[in-house]
């Protein structure tokens, strides 16, 4: 079951990476986000999975689809990058992947026997209002700045 979801996630990610049409890439991104939410469920992270659904799929993906639809002639942009060709990019990514795979399989991870799956919302709420209260408040400030900044950047300038 886990491997089915993992394979689905990676396949959708490959669709994002290799699809020639940006609209197909956006919908592959949708599948990838669903798959990652499913992986969070397998990891007993119910609140993170819910946040993934609400914020990523409900917010970020809709935003990306809006941008895709708003910029017409979007499919005209050639896929490949001129400054970094496909082969150097592939070589770099392959080298990175090999190094990281070696690190994954050579390290002896100190795995603790996992706890029973309990709801995580209580502990996360206590964490946000306890030890993580300063980042939490900073996050709200960052979101306010982002709201104002996005409006300022994206509105049409009044040219006199």
């Amino acid at each position: 079951m886990f491997y089915a979801f993992a394979a689905f996630t990676v396949l959708c990610a490959a669709g994002v990476a290799f699809s020639g049409n940006i609209v197909y890439s956006a919908f592959a991104l949708l599948g990838m986000l669903f798959g990652v939410a499913a992986l969070y469920v397998f990891l007993a992270a119910d609140f993170v999975a819910g946040a993934q659904f609400l914020i990523y799929i409900g917010g970020v993906l809709v935003l990306i689809l809006f941008a895709v639809m708003l910029t017409h002639r979007i499919a005209d942009v050639a896929v490949s990058n001129r400054s970094v060709g496909r082969f150097p990019a592939f070589a770099l990514v392959a080298a990175t992947a090999v190094i990281m795979a070696r690190a994954i399989f050579k390290t002896r991870w100190p795995v603790v026997d996992t706890l029973p799956d309990t709801p995580t919302t209580h502990a996360i709420g206590n964490g946000f209002l306890g030890p993580y209260v300063l980042p939490f408040e900073l996050a709200s400030f960052v979101l306010l700045a982002v709201l104002v900044g996005a409006i300022v950047v994206s509105r049409k300038e009044l040219r006199s």
């Binding site: 990610a13 990838m32 397998f42 990891l43 970020v60 990058n81 982002v146």
Partner: protein, 103 residues
């Protein structure tokens, strides 16, 4: 999830990271690059939650994952606003076309 070792989650994260890096490196479409960044952030998040799950204290890693999700939403909002601004100015979202700060 008993039965699935930690390494398999890390491999999923690695695959997502590699594909995201490839997307960022090869796309000329600015929105495509933003999608690649989303892939990278999701890869990091999978690793956070997996490590948290297998470390015995799952709360801290999940809180970090939530912060990453929040910042990804902020980054997408600002990034797409910039992309739309570029599109209005240059009539294109090819990142090679944006060679000047103003038009």
């Amino acid at each position: 999830m008993p039965g699935v070792p930690l390494q398999h989650f890390l491999v999923v994260g690695l695959a997502l990271f590699a594909l995201g890096l490839y997307t960022v490196l090869t796309r000329r479409n600015a929105i495509g690059i933003l999608m690649g960044i989303e892939l990278l952030l999701n890869a990091a998040n999978v690793n956070y939650v997996a490590f948290a799950r297998y470390s015995g204290t799952p709360t801290d890693g999940q809180i970090f994952a939530i912060f990453v999700i929040m910042l990804a939403a902020a980054e997408a909002a600002v990034g797409l606003a910039i992309v739309l601004g570029i599109y209005q100015n240059f009539e294109s979202i090819d990142v090679d076309a944006t060679h000047a700060l103003r038009h």
